[in-house]
C-alpha cells in the first residue's frame, strides 16, 4: 500500500503527483485529501483521505447511511467538499470536464424505467461525450458494437431495456461505459435487485475488465462479493475505518467496528461463499 501517500499533507495547489511513485503516468485516478461533507451541519463524510491508482480494483463498503454514495458523488465531482480537496485524474473533481474518461453504473432502479429505448441506444450514449452535438460516425458505431460484444449483449442489442433482467440491464450499462472508452468504472451498488446467478457473471465481467487495465471503483453493500473480487477494500462509516488489501480486511476487526456487533458473521459467510 505504498501508493497511499495521502498522509502527506500536500499543499492544496500541488498536482497529485506521488513522489513515492517514480512512474510519470501514475497520476492517481481519484485523490481525496481530508474531504469532509455534510448536507446539514452534521458531516456525512468526515476527513476522508484516499487515493486510487490506475488499474486498481477498489471496493468501498459500509453500512447503510455510512456515506458511501455521498463519497462516490464527491469523488465524481457531483458534490463539492465542504473541506479538503477531491481530485479526478489530477484535476479538481467538481471542475473536471473530461467526462468520457468515467463510466458510471448506478443501481438499475435509478433510470427511467418505462422509457422505450433499446440496449444499443443506451450503449450509444457512451459515445455522446465524444460526438457532442454531432452524429455518430461509423467508427462510433463500430465501438458500440464491440462494447456490446464484450459484455455479451450483442444478441440483445435491439431489445427494449425495460424488458431485460436486472443482470442483463447492468451489462448494458457496463457496455455504455466501455463504449465511452472510460478509464475509470464507477459502480454504485450495481447488483441490487439482480439474481444471484447473474451477480456472479457480472463480477467476472468486472474482473476481466480490470485485467484489461480499467480502474474499477465499486460501492457495495454485499460484503461477500467484495472480499471475493476486490483487490483493496475501503471500509467507511462517516470516516475511513479500514483501507488496505482485502485479505487483511477480512482478518481485521474493522468490519465489526464500522458495522457494529454481529457483522463478523456476515464477513465469514462472504469468505466461505
Amino acid at each position: 500500500m505504498s501508493d497511499q501517500s495521502t498522509s502527506t499533507t500536500a499543499s492544496g495547489e500541488s498536482t497529485a503527483d506521488d513522489p513515492a511513485d517514480p512512474s510519470p503516468t501514475a497520476v492517481p485516478v481519484v485523490a481525496l485529501d481530508g474531504v469532509t461533507f455534510g448536507y446539514t451541519a452534521t458531516p456525512v463524510v468526515e476527513d476522508v483521505s484516499l487515493t486510487v491508482a490506475p488499474g486498481e480494483y477498489v471496493a468501498v463498503v459500509g453500512p447503510n447511511g455510512s456515506g458511501k454514495s455521498t463519497l462516490m458523488q464527491l469523488m465524481l465531482g457531483l458534490l463539492a467538499p465542504d473541506a479538503g480537496a477531491a481530485r479526478l485524474f489530477g484535476e479538481p473533481a467538481d471542475r473536471f470536464d473530461d467526462g468520457e474518461r468515467i463510466g458510471y453504473v448506478a443501481q438499475h432502479a435509478g433510470v427511467a424505467k418505462e422509457m422505450p429505448i433499446t440496449v444499443r441506444e443506451v450503449v450509444e450514449m457512451g459515445r455522446f461525450p465524444h460526438v457532442g452535438f454531432g452524429r455518430l460516425s461509423s467508427a462510433d458505431r463500430a465501438i458500440v458494437e464491440r462494447a456490446l460484444d464484450t459484455v455479451g449483449m450483442a444478441g440483445f442489442a435491439d431489445r427494449r431495456v425495460t424488458r431485460l433482467s436486472g443482470g442483463q440491464r447492468q451489462r448494458a450499462f457496463i457496455a455504455r461505459a466501455l463504449a465511452g472508452e472510460a478509464d475509470l468504472l464507477v459502480l454504485d451498488e450495481p447488483t441490487v435487485g439482480v439474481d444471484a446467478e447473474s451477480v456472479e457473471a457480472f463480477y467476472e465481467l468486472l474482473a476481466s475488465l480490470n485485467d484489461r487495465g480499467i480502474t474499477v471503483l465499486l460501492i457495495e453493500h454485499d460484503l461477500g462479493a467484495v472480499v471475493e473480487h476486490a483487490d483493496r477494500v475501503v471500509c467507511l462509516n462517516r470516516e475511513v475505518y479500514y483501507d488496505g488489501p482485502t485479505d487483511e480486511f477480512v482478518r481485521s476487526d474493522a468490519l465489526a467496528r464500522a458495522f457494529g456487533a454481529g457483522a463478523g458473521a456476515l464477513a465469514d459467510a462472504g469468505v466461505d461463499g
Binding site: E100, A112, E121, A201
Partner: protein, 370 residues
C-alpha cells in the same frame, strides 16, 4: 452551451422584434426613437417572411382543395388553413418535447405552465387595455410562461426535487393572477377569454400563426441540435452529469421549450387541455414503440392523427376542436395500449425460437469484433 445560448438569444431577438413591430404599428411613428426604428425594421422583415410563408401555405391548401374537394380546405376559409397549419405544427412539437417530459415523470409541468401562460394572456390584454400597447396576448403569454418555467426549474434546483407542491402553487398562482387581471379589466375588455381557455379554430389570426411558426422553428431546431444530450439527461441524469453534460442547463432549456409549446398549442387547444398534447400521444407511443427513435416518430404520428381528425370533426360537427382532439388522442392511446398488451405475447414466442444467448464474459474475445 454556446449553441443553445445562441438559439435562445435568437428567439429573444425575434420575439422582441415581433413585439416591437406590433407595438410600433399602434404607436405614432413620429415619436419613434432610433432604437425602436431598428427593431421595427427587423420586425418588418421577420413578419414579412412569416406572411410570405403563410401565403405559400394558403396556396398549397388551395391546391389540396381543388384536387380533393374537401370542404374544410375551401379557400374562402383562410382561418381553417391557419388552424390546420397550427395543428400540424403542434402535432410535431408537443410530442417532441413531451417525450422528454413524460419519461422524467414531469407530465404535469405542461399543465402548470399552461395556467401561467393564461396569466401572460391576461397581462397582455391588460396592457393593451390600459396603455394601448397593441401587443398580441400570445407574445406576453410566451414571456410569462418562460419566466414561470425558469422559476419552477430554479426552485427544483434549490430544493433538489421537482415537487408537486411547488408545481401546484405555480399553477394556481398563474391562474389566479390571470382571472384577477381579467376581472379587474372586465369593463374595457372587448375580446372574450373563452378562446384562450378552450381554444378556437376561427380566431387563429395571421399574426398568431406567425408567432407559432417562430416557436416551431426554435423548438424543433433546439431539439435537433441537442437531441443527444436531452436523451442522456432524460434517461439517466446522474450518468449524464458524470459524463460532463451540464444537466442543469439542459433542464432549463427543456422547461423553457415546454413553455413555448404550451403557448403555441394554446391557440387551438386552450389553456385547460393543452397539457394533453404533451402527454397522451407520448403515452400511446410508449406502449408500442421498440426504440427511442421509434417512440419519437410514433408519438408525432399519433399526435398528427389526433389533431387532423379532431379539427375535421370539429369543423363538420361544429364542436370545440380542443376537446375533440384530446378525445381522439385518448382513443388512440387506448388502442395503442391494447396493441402493446398483445405484442409482448407474440414477442415471447420469437424469443423461444432464438433461445438465450450465451453470455460471454471473457473480455479478451470481445476486442476482436469489428
Amino acid at each position: 452551451m454556446t449553441a443553445i445560448a445562441g438559439a435562445v438569444g435568437a428567439v429573444v431577438t425575434v420575439l422582441a422584434s415581433l413585439v416591437a413591430a406590433t407595438a410600433t404599428a399602434a404607436a405614432d411613428p413620429g415619436v419613434l426613437l432610433p432604437l425602436q426604428g431598428g427593431f421595427a425594421a427587423i420586425g418588418d422583415l421577420a413578419s414579412g417572411v412569416l406572411l410570405w410563408l403563410l401565403d405559400q401555405w394558403y396556396w398549397l391548401l388551395d391546391w389540396v382543395y381543388y384536387l380533393t374537394g374537401v370542404e374544410m380546405f375551401n379557400p374562402q376559409y383562410r382561418f381553417m388553413h391557419r388552424a390546420v397549419l397550427v395543428g400540424l405544427c403542434v402535432g410535431v412539437m408537443a410530442p417532441l418535447i413531451g417525450t422528454f417530459l413524460v419519461h422524467r415523470q414531469l407530465a404535469l409541468i405542461g399543465d402548470a405552465l399552461a395556467h401561467t401562460a393564461f396569466a401572460g394572456v391576461a397581462v397582455g390584454l391588460f396592457l393593451n387595455a390600459v396603455i394601448d400597447l397593441g401587443v398580441s396576448p400570445y407574445l406576453t403569454a410566451v414571456v410569462v410562461a418562460m419566466i414561470a418555467a425558469l422559476c419552477i426549474e430554479l426552485i427544483s434546483e434549490v430544493t433538489d426535487a421537482y415537487n408537486d407542491v411547488s408545481m401546484a402553487i405555480v399553477l394556481s398562482t398563474g391562474f389566479a393572477l390571470g382571472t384577477t387581471l381579467i376581472s379587474l379589466n372586465a369593463g374595457g375588455l372587448a375580446v372574450g377569454i373563452d378562446q384562450f381557455l378552450f381554444g378556437n379554430l376561427s380566431t387563429v389570426s395571421p399574426e398568431s400563426a406567425g408567432i407559432l411558426l417562430v416557436l416551431f422553428a426554435v423548438i424543433v431546431g433546439t431539439v435537433a441540435v441537442t437531441r443527444n444530450q436531452l436523451l442522456y439527461v432524460t434517461f439517466d441524469e446522474t450518468a449524464a452529469a458524470v459524463s460532463g453534460i451540464p444537466v442543469r442547463w439542459y433542464n432549463r432549456v427543456t422547461v423553457m421549450l415546454t413553455a413555448m409549446v404550451v403557448v403555441g398549442a394554446m391557440q387551438i387547444m386552450g389553456v385547460i387541455l393543452v397539457a394533453a398534447m404533451l402527454v397522451v400521444p407520448v403515452a400511446g407511443a410508449t406502449q408500442v414503440a421498440r426504440s427511442f427513435r421509434e417512440s419519437l416518430l410514433v408519438s408525432v404520428v399519433l399526435a398528427e392523427l389526433a389533431v387532423l381528425l379532431g379539427i375535421a370533426v370539429s369543423y363538420y360537427a361544429g364542436v370545440t376542436a380542443g376537446g375533440v382532439i384530446v378525445l381522439v388522442a385518448v382513443g388512440i392511446y387506448v388502442l395503442a395500449a391494447a396493441v402493446g398488451r398483445v405484442r409482448p405475447a407474440l414477442a415471447e414466442e420469437t424469443d423461444r425460437e432464438t433461445g438465450t444467448i450465451d453470455a460471454d464474459t471473457d473480455a479478451g474475445t470481445g476486442a476482436g469484433g469489428d
